[in-house]
Symmetry: C2
Subunit: 629 residues, 2 copies
């Protein structure tokens, strides 16, 4: 965490000084704004937190409810989401209060006594096997709280406008082309309707999205004929795995069992079986007593003595995805003005624990793009990449969830290999961890021509961090964790073999990068900190003793803030130290001839290039940026 360089910080350094629209931000929803976020779920709140880092952009977030979400809804947090929380600055807090999934256990009918269940396997959870971040369970309400803090503590000082409902929108011409009808649902103006105007609108308003409806996008797919009851309960029980995540497959049906944060609460997904065609959603009226009775039947010979039901719901599994995630009109040549995220454009079962996670990544993908376009850093065409990147991810999710749900919903007699579910769980771990997303080539994702220079940083996938030593203080740090969700691009310059200051590829690269004609200069606004758009870091192959800071090119020791203070946190050593055995060059398959790895603000690898390929790097960046000088 870096601070003090823009003035001494006495209080919480996570609270950044208000700037731009964050200074004297009006309490009342204004008539005009740059971005209107509809809905304060995971995607909407992440967007608010992200756009708070762009305080020159006016962002408002409306929510029909008159306050924060108190209860229920999603709770599965994949490692990629924890990685995202790290970028937003609150991973350590949420980890401290969440349930950590260490194991997933599988139960099935006892072959000797099939009306009883027995544990068929213990499976280590994939979380810490696949990333440095864990796999957690914590109430969506708390995730939203942390994003709300991040939004409010950012320079944009964004807080949700609670008690304001979206009614409809029309896209017209002009500076604020999206005309939005809203209605107050709470407070002094309750019932009043208003028109407000925005440059862009994001529909983060859930499965029954009115924004989706307003732009005429269709949810394709159907509701399956399978119903599940879900309950957050506190019980006494003799079921020994009550505090372990379990998939339970019994003659009486199936349970997906999820222990929750705090040590007492658990979430139980109870299979309510096939729904008759003429059911007409009558299953949704299943009483809690019936769900509890079914759970007891499934868990036989164990029993649940339910002491409190904190929340419950019944739903039918739907698998639907919207055709486009924006309102583009290619025939009319109109760029998108309205975007859909999360459940508004993809719905599926809750059981793979994916919904909130994929929704947040929708928001993470879109946020920096809106911020970049609205601050003049990037062309408006950048916004079209949102739908083209996220729609295939949603389709993957639907396909995965359909397979996982049907595996989970099988009857015991349909299961030949009792380890099949466990094997599927582990074998597919990269997907539910959130790390399988790979964006295809575009204006912001390069081609794989030089991928061999950095095999461990696949272009289009998220930058998988590894440890290095910060030369200035010798501390072992995760290189990727320095990257905060501040809308900046990262350029990691992995040096060739010569030591700092010697004639080398990296010395030449630094000379090129320092010239006023370099893209870094041209795409960074006059008067801004030199690293306001591109955060350049160098990683030498030597250990800390082998890097003489006074010989490192100046561009990696830039002067920053009003005092022009040296930034000491851009020069790293890969060589192992007493504190860490890791060499990132070996860990990530980096060429000893060096490589430049360009990473987007949402942590996805945009490009890998040789040190000498400065023209190629320039050409690539010219595709995604606008000159600001």
């Amino acid at each position: 965490m870096q601070f003090h360089h823009h003035g001494y910080v006495s209080q919480d350094p996570r609270v950044l000084p208000a700037a731009g629209t964050g200074i004297d931000r009006p309490a009342e929803l204004p008539d005009e704004m740059d971005v209107l976020i509809v809905g304060s779920g995971p995607a909407g709140m992440l967007l608010a937190a992200q756009l708070s880092q762009f305080p020159d952009v006016t962002t408002r977030i409306i929510e029909r409810r008159d306050g924060r979400l108190p209860l229920g809804q999603a709770d599965g947090i994949q490692p990629r989401s924890v990685e995202t929380f790290q970028a937003f600055g609150f991973a350590e807090r949420i980890v401290a209060e969440a349930y950590n999934i260490g194991w997933m256990n599988f139960w099935g009918p006892d072959p000797q006594n099939p009306q009883n269940i027995v544990r068929t396997s213990r499976t280590e959870d994939y979380g810490l096997k696949i990333s440095e971040f864990p796999h957690l369970i914590v109430n969506q309400a708390r995730v939203l709280d942390y994003f709300a803090d991040a939004a409010h503590n950012g320079p944009g000082r964004i807080v949700p406008d609670y008690g304001v409902e979206f009614l409809g929108l029309t896209v017209r011409d002009g500076e604020y082309p999206v005309e939005v009808r809203v209605r107050y649902t709470a407070g002094a103006r309750s019932g009043e309707e208003r028109i407000v105007r925005a440059k862009y609108v994001t529909g983060c308003d859930g499965a029954r999205s009115r924004v989706r409806e307003a732009i005429g996008r269709k949810h394709l797919g159907g509701i399956s004929a399978h119903a599940w009851g879900v309950m957050d309960i506190m019980v006494n029980t003799d079921f020994p795995d009550w505090r372990t995540k379990c998939a339970i497959n019994s003659e009486a049906g199936n349970i997906l069992h999820i222990p929750r944060e705090g040590g007492y609460l658990c979430r139980v997904y109870v299979d309510l079986g096939e729904v008759a065609e003429d059911d007409n959603h009558a299953v949704r009226a299943t009483p809690i007593e019936a769900i509890i009775a079914k759970a007891n039947a499934i868990l036989h010979p164990y029993t649940l003595d339910v002491k409190e039901v904190a929340w419950f719901s019944v739903y039918e599994v739907g698998h639907r995805v919207t055709d486009h995630f924006d309102d583009r009109d290619e025939d009319a040549g109109r760029a998108p003005r309205v975007f859909l995220t999360g459940d508004a454009c993809h719905t599926h079962s809750a059981k793979a624990g994916q919904g909130m996670n994929v929704s947040m990544q929708d928001g993470f993908n879109l946020g920096w793009k809106l911020g970049s376009v609205l601050t003049g850093r990037a062309p408006a065409s950048l916004l079209a990449t949102y739908s083209s990147e996220r729609q295939p991810v949603a389709q993957q999710l639907i396909d995965f969830d359909r397979e996982w749900s049907s595996l989970m919903a099988r009857k015991p007699e349909e299961i030949s290999d009792p380890d099949e579910l466990a094997n599927y769980y582990l074998g597919t771990a990269e997907f539910p961890s959130g790390f399988m997303t790979q964006y295809g080539p575009s204006m912001i994702t390069g081609d794989a021509g030089h991928q061999n220079l950095a095999e461990g940083f696949p272009i289009g996938k998220r930058f998988k961090s590894s440890t290095v030593s910060l030369v200035a203080d010798g501390n072992v740090v995760h290189l990727g964790h320095h990257a905060r969700a501040d809308g900046r691009w990262r350029v990691y310059v992995f040096a060739d073999a010569p030591a700092a200051g010697e004639a080398s590829g990296v010395t030449g690269w630094a000379e090129w990068a320092s010239s006023p004609a370099s893209p870094f200069a041209r795409f960074t606004p006059e008067g801004a900190d030199v690293d306001a758009v591109f955060d350049l870091k160098v990683i030498y192959q030597q250990g800390i003793e082998g890097v003489d800071l006074n010989r490192v090119p100046d561009i990696f020791r830039p002067k920053t803030g009003p005092l022009g203070l040296t930034d000491w946190e851009k020069v790293f050593a890969a060589g192992p130290s007493v504190w860490s055995p890791t060499d990132i060059f070996a860990e990530r398959g980096l060429s000893r001839d060096g490589a430049v790895v360009v990473v987007r603000p949402d942590q996805y690898v945009a490009h890998v290039l040789p040190l000498a390929a400065t023209a190629e790097l320039t050409a690539f960046l010219e595709g995604g940026f606008l000159p600001v000088r």
Copy 2:
């Protein structure tokens, strides 16, 4: 973190429900209170946070300043303090914003060119070598902020009464025997004097403590004739170790250099040399320019270009300790009513980074004792152990600091072995880490007769945690980190070899412990949670697969809260798992015949006994507790 068992928690689980005096706590300082804390420094604020866990006790904390500390003062955080922060629930937050000390480097005159300094050694810092907690640097102001949060978020809802100055006190008779004169220094009542009355007063009011003066205790020792300038500065420099902790010994003098949180600020202690006998504190008027000039001379050939001075001060090293840390009057047979903590009873140089840390441990030692006596759990005689335990620690600190300061203040020609300072630094690491404190036998610290059953948990030293698996969810956790600073005692029952439920020492112990005649029952108030005073945990030698929770004695699966919910977090497995190779029995030298390790609320090991020694355990507990049924 355990929650939900006293009602569903939707918001931050660190905010406990208000209780007792925390409900409708008056904003104005009342006329009468149980505890009056004078001063909101590290000891005072820790006391407030601790006593907030005893909401039946009325606690107020007065501070002459009209608000929080903004700047300056202490910044060194030893691992024991981070361990303490963990118990108060904020370690992960402060670690995330602090400077982590990975190395301490030593510089001395270049033998070839003695007016220049050269690096003579790099020494790994002791922090992570000696404990699972790091050695940090962070502004005292932030430490106080976190304790303020803990005090306010505890059930007692304690907030400081800023702008109230202590004038004097008289100890009389009656229920609230300490009569205290205070004066408002800010706000509407500024200038007004008042008399308030307390059962106990703690003087946490610094080196010039008026509480110390009021009880007639004397600070013994003197001010040395050596002066130091200290400055928090932001600079540009070519000194390559500017972001590494260093001891610099040069022909021009000495510097202790401490990088600070945030990546830009550093603290520099500059040796200002011997002070003439007739100086009469004139050295304290040394201007900042002179300190900077001296620093530049010491760092030659490197230079500092100072861009901003955030804070500076000049002080003369004093080494003083007060004879008793309370107002006991053994001749009159009067038990203590007034206590001194921190700088009020021990002062020394700042350079070993100890002051704030030892002060906090003073507070941690005293807080639970006050809470226990005031809630009727313990006899008033417990309070006399505060001074008898902490006074020797202060004397150790003075001795250590005197040696370290004189080593640091030597001239180059006095140094024969350039590694001597580095070796001393590492060789004595247990002391500055905060782990060398060992309390002698008393009513709350047993004798070492059975120490051989648990060699790794020395009686009288703090409980050094190690990892175990929580059987209920298979997560690998630090056994000691479950212990929060909630005023409860911990009883760790390390099982003998048989599996749970089989006839064994631990099964017998549990039977004894469950009887209404056991000390756990007798010393726990009627109507309170069964573990409100004693938190009993069992650690089996098996792995998680080898512990059948349904066969573990009920006392380790107690029912808790108004719903009577099973607490799943008291049964642990020592056997290694895929997530951890550690076996706590091997790591801590525990007898395979089992052992009972009793740990005080301030994390110090109170006793080690065999499973069979239930009579001895009863006798020991009867010394420190009062029957409440």
